[in-house]
C-alpha cells in the first residue's frame, strides 16, 4: 500500500496530489497541490476546495455543476472532460491528477480559455429558414422526421469536441477554414430538418458544408464522439451522413443525373 493510500482519514477522506496549470497568455506552469478529497466528489469540487483553501486567485469557469451548462470544460490527465462530471473515484488514490485548460483555444487565465472562436463559427452557419406558407404555431412534424435532429439538440456547447478535434487543435492555421464538429453537426441538423426552407432560397447546405465550412477537413477519426459528455454520436449520425449528402451533391454523377431527369420531368 502506498504512503498516500495509508493516509485515509475518518469519513473516507484522503489527501490527493493535484497538478493545476496556473498562468495566462504570457506564460504559466503546472503547480503542485495537496488537496483533501471526500467520498463521492468530482474534480470540480476539488478545484473549488483548492480555491477556498490554497489558491483564492485560481480562475475557473463553471456554472451548473450538473453537466448541463457546458462551462467547466478542461483537460484532466490530458483528456478533454467536464470537471463536474469527472468523479474522483475514477482515479486511484495514489494517482496525480493533472488539470489544464483546453489546449485548442487561447488561454485567458489559469483554467479559463477564450472560446469566442466557436461563437464566430456559430454565426457563420445560416439559421433555420421558416417555411413561407406556415406561421408560428402552425409547424407540424412527425416524430420519426425529427428524431435525428433531436439527438443533436442535446448538445450543451461545452466545446470539448471542438477542443479535441485535431484539425484545429494541431493546426491553428485551419481555424479559418474549418467550422469544427459542433457546427458541422448544426448544418446536418438543419439539412435533416423536415421544415427547413433553405433550398427554396437557393441555399444548398450540403454544398456549403463542403465548400464553406470545411467538411472535407474531417477525417472521421471520431475523437469528437469519444469526448462528448452527452454521448451524441457526432461522427456516425451527423458528420458521416453530411459527408454522404455532400457526396450526393458534388461527387456522385449518378445522383446528379437522377436529379436532372427528375427536375425535367417535374
Amino acid at each position: 500500500m502506498s504512503e498516500r493510500q495509508a493516509e485515509q482519514r475518518p469519513g473516507g477522506s484522503y489527501p490527493a496530489h493535484f497538478r493545476v496549470w496556473r498562468g495566462d497568455a504570457d506564460g504559466g506552469e503546472l503547480r503542485d497541490y495537496e488537496v483533501e478529497v471526500h467520498e463521492g466528489e468530482v474534480v470540480l469540487d476539488i478545484i473549488h476546495r483548492l480555491q477556498a483553501t490554497q489558491a483564492p486567485d485560481l480562475a475557473v469557469r463553471w456554472n451548473c455543476k450538473a453537466g448541463k451548462c457546458g462551462s467547466c470544460s478542461a483537460e484532466i490527465n490530458g483528456r478533454p472532460r467536464l470537471m463536474c462530471m469527472t468523479r474522483m473515484s475514477v482515479f486511484t488514490r495514489a494517482e496525480t491528477v493533472t488539470v489544464t485548460p483546453m489546449r485548442t483555444f487561447p488561454v485567458l487565465r489559469d483554467l479559463v480559455t477564450d472560446v469566442s472562436f466557436n461563437y464566430t463559427k456559430a454565426r457563420e452557419i445560416p439559421a433555420f429558414v421558416p417555411p413561407a406558407d406556415l406561421g408560428p404555431g402552425e409547424y407540424r412534424m412527425r416524430q420519426e422526421d425529427v428524431n435525428r435532429s433531436q439527438e443533436f439538440r442535446k448538445c450543451i456547447e461545452c466545446f470539448l469536441c471542438q477542443n479535441t478535434c485535431h484539425v484545429v487543435r494541431d493546426h491553428e492555421e485551419n481555424k479559418d477554414a474549418f467550422a469544427g464538429p459542433r457546427f458541422l453537426m448544426r448544418i446536418a441538423e438543419l439539412d435533416m430538418h423536415p421544415l427547413d426552407a433553405a433550398p427554396a432560397l437557393g441555399l444548398d447546405r450540403r454544398r456549403t458544408a463542403q465548400d464553406g465550412h470545411g467538411l472535407g477537413y474531417c477525417n472521421i477519426t471520431k475523437c469528437c464522439t469519444e469526448v462528448c459528455p452527452e454521448h451524441i454520436k457526432i461522427t456516425d449520425n451527423a458528420l458521416i451522413p453530411l459527408k454522404e449528402r455532400a457526396a450526393d451533391r458534388k461527387y456522385d454523377p449518378l445522383v446528379w443525373l437522377g436529379n436532372k431527369i427528375r427536375r425535367r420531368t417535374e
Binding site: A25, G78, D170, D211, K222, P241, Y251
Partner: protein
C-alpha cells in the same frame, strides 16, 4: 482548396504549442495507454495485408472441391483452376498472366480502404493523424480529405455497389459448399460451416456500411413519407452501430476461409464431413 479559404502558412510553433495557448511544453498529458489501440490496429491491419498479399500473388492452392477461396472468387481470367459449377467467368480472357486474385481483390480492397471505419483505423494507426484523441499529431500541415488523393474517399458508395455484387458471388460459393468432392448435392463439411460464418459476416459488414445507410434512407428528409425505407434505415442503423466489430470479424473470417482452403488444397488434412 475545396473550402475556398487557403490556410495561411504558420511560422514558429503551432498546434498545442501555439503562442496563444496555455504554455505546456508536453505534446500531451495523457496517462493512460493511449498508444495501445492504434498500435494494435496497425499490427492487425499489417498482418492482414502481409497475409493477403502473399495469398493473392501465390496463384496456387485456392481450390479444393467444393471449396474456392474467397480471394479468388469470382475468377475473371482464363488461367483459373476449373471449378465445376463454380465462379469461372473468363471476362479477361487468356491474356492475363498474373494471379487472377489481383483482378477481383481490387473491389473488396477499395471498399475497405474507403470505408469510414477503416479510414479512422489507418489514419490513426499508420498516419498518426491523430494517433489518439488529444495527442498531438507529428505533421506540420493538414488538409484532410479536401484534396487529391484523399478526396477520392468520396467514391466509397461505388465500391459499396461492387461489394454487394462480390458478396452475392461469395453467397453462391457458400451454397456450392453443400456438395461433396464429387460435386453431389446434399452434403456438408466443416468447410461449409467456415464459409457460412464468413458469408454471414461479409453481408453484415457490407450492409452495415455508412454509404448503404445513406442510400437506403439516410438521404431522405421525410421518413414519414417513406415508411419502408425508414424501416430499412432503422435495420441498417442497428447494424451500423457495430460496423467496427463487423469490419474486424469479416476481415478475420475471410482470411480464415482462405486459409482453410489453402490447407485442404495443400493436403494438410482432409475436410471433416458431417454428412
Amino acid at each position: 482548396m475545396a473550402t475556398g479559404i487557403e490556410p495561411a502558412p504558420q511560422s514558429g510553433p503551432t498546434g498545442v504549442r501555439d503562442a496563444s495557448r496555455a504554455a505546456i511544453p508536453a505534446r500531451h498529458l495523457r496517462t493512460d495507454r493511449w498508444w495501445l489501440a492504434p498500435a494494435g490496429t496497425a499490427a492487425g491491419l499489417l498482418a492482414f495485408v502481409v497475409y493477403s498479399t502473399w495469398r493473392a500473388f501465390a496463384n496456387a492452392d485456392y481450390y479444393h472441391a467444393p471449396y474456392v477461396s474467397p480471394f479468388y472468387s469470382p475468377c475473371l481470367a482464363a488461367n483459373c483452376h476449373p471449378m465445376r459449377g463454380g465462379p469461372n467467368w473468363e471476362v479477361f480472357g487468356s491474356w492475363w498472366g498474373l494471379s487472377p486474385a489481383l483482378l477481383i481483390l481490387i473491389f473488396p480492397l477499395g471498399f475497405r480502404l474507403t470505408c469510414y471505419y477503416y479510414r479512422k483505423a489507418y489514419y490513426r494507426g499508420f498516419w498518426a493523424s491523430p494517433p489518439a484523441c488529444a495527442v498531438a499529431e507529428p505533421h506540420r500541415r493538414y488538409t484532410g480529405e479536401t484534396r487529391f488523393p484523399l478526396i477520392l474517399q468520396n467514391v466509397h458508395r461505388y465500391f459499396f455497389y461492387f461489394a454487394v455484387l462480390v458478396a452475392g458471388v461469395l453467397t453462391y460459393d457458400t451454397v456450392l459448399t453443400f456438395r461433396d468432392d464429387h460435386y453431389r448435392w446434399g452434403h456438408m463439411g466443416l468447410g461449409s460451416l467456415v464459409f457460412l460464418a464468413n458469408i454471414v459476416l461479409i453481408w453484415a459488414y457490407t450492409l452495415s456500411c455508412h454509404s448503404c445507410r445513406h442510400i437506403v434512407g439516410g438521404r431522405l428528409r421525410h421518413f414519414s413519407k417513406h415508411p419502408v425505407r425508414y424501416r430499412l434505415w432503422g435495420w441498417v442503423s442497428t447494424l451500423n452501430a457495430r460496423h467496427m466489430q463487423l469490419a474486424w470479424a469479416s476481415l478475420i473470417s475471410v482470411a480464415v476461409a482462405d486459409f482453410y482452403v489453402f490447407l485442404l488444397a495443400g493436403g494438410a488434412f482432409e475436410d471433416p464431413r458431417f454428412f
